[in-house]
Amino acid sequence: MQAPFEGFECLLQSKHLVVVLGMNNGHCHIMLLLTPLKGAGASKAAGIQPFRGSGGLLSDSSHSGNVLDLFDKDTFQVQRKLELVLYCLSDTTSL
């Protein structure tokens, strides 16, 4: 990361900092794949577009990219009977 704190120094001087976390943020590190886990290449081949966020969510390209869209509203199962596999990106948090 180049000049990592340039412009960001003031954040640490805040008195009331508000943080908004999105779902494809690296903080979460959970990746969703809609096919059995065989690596990102396989996911792409299956038509899954990776989000280029901070390392977060992969999603079916037909979805908005939001995990909430994946669930059936009545059963809360993953829609279209696709297998859901989760893992984490970083070694320290891998499942």
């Binding site: 640490l12 508000v18 943080v19 966020g53």
Partner: protein, 251 residues
């Protein structure tokens, strides 16, 4: 959903979660609004209740289930088998009420509710929407900086919130920051004073260092092999949350 919840139950907070907790301990963090439903912020030590509420879960939490009728809530871990089968389990509180009415010879009225994951799907209203609105109004009046992390800024709710918050903050001379691997959408660029294209974990490590916090070291051990009964015990004892806080926060 059960698989997802179980995976999230195993996951440990990352450096960025730890940074949020550190910011809170240093009196810097006013509030975190998260679109995540995995409770990792809470495992890191943030809270969604009480006077110290510093985390608003905009889409609820999949780590809890809630009755569709009476509002009874319980940890999802107790219902993994039922949720895995695709059938929502009956609410134990409603069942008890029905049994009591039966034994008293009273009319039952309804069949009782079902326990569904306490997440808010699109098109549903947040059960705590009035509370969240009050919190947002408070934050608009107090926030001096806004940090937006890891969102593609495509959903209406988050975009409108960020736009509105940024207006108030800029009026007070504060800054609006965007942190993501990608740049923000072109029509949103004007709302940010600073854009950092980077991995937020790297950012968190540096920020923790600037705050003088111990170097972040996540435990190498993970909970992958824990059984559902193990998880249930951890939930009952409260250990699942405390164990995953940064070690400097255990006291």
């Amino acid at each position: 959903m059960a698989d997802l919840a179980k995976a999230a139950a195993c996951a440990r907070p990352t450096a960025f979660h730890t940074l949020l907790r550190a910011l809170s301990c240093h009196g810097i963090l006013g509030r975190t609004y998260t679109q995540n439903i995995d409770d990792l912020e809470l495992k890191a030590g943030l809270t969604t209740v009480g006077e110290e509420l510093n985390c608003v879960q905009l889409h609820g939490s999949m780590m809890k289930v809630q009755c569709t009728q009476c509002g009874f809530t319980e940890h999802t871990v107790h219902h993994f088998p039922a949720l895995s089968s695709g059938k929502l389990p009956p609410c134990p509180q409603c069942e008890m009420r029905i049994e009591n009415r039966k034994s008293e010879g009273k009319r039952i009225g309804s069949n009782g509710g079902l326990l569904r994951p306490a997440i808010i799907l699109y098109g549903e209203s947040h059960p705590k929407s009035e509370d969240i609105e009050s919190i947002q109004i408070l934050d608009r009046s107090k926030a001096d900086n806004l940090l937006v992390v890891g969102t593609s800024l495509k959903t209406y709710g988050s975009v409108s919130f960020i736009k509105e918050m940024s207006r108030f903050i800029k009026k007070r001379g504060g800054g609006v920051y965007y942190l993501d691997l990608a740049s923000p959408p072109s029509k949103m660029v004007k709302f940010f004073d600073h854009v950092l294209q980077a991995d937020c974990q790297d950012f968190a490590m540096l920020a923790l260092d600037r705050l003088g916090m111990p170097k972040f070291t996540a435990s190498a051990s993970v909970d992958r092999d824990r059984t559902e009964a193990d998880f249930a015990e951890l939930v009952e004892t409260g250990r699942i949350r405390k164990d995953m806080r940064p070690s400097w926060d255990w006291a």
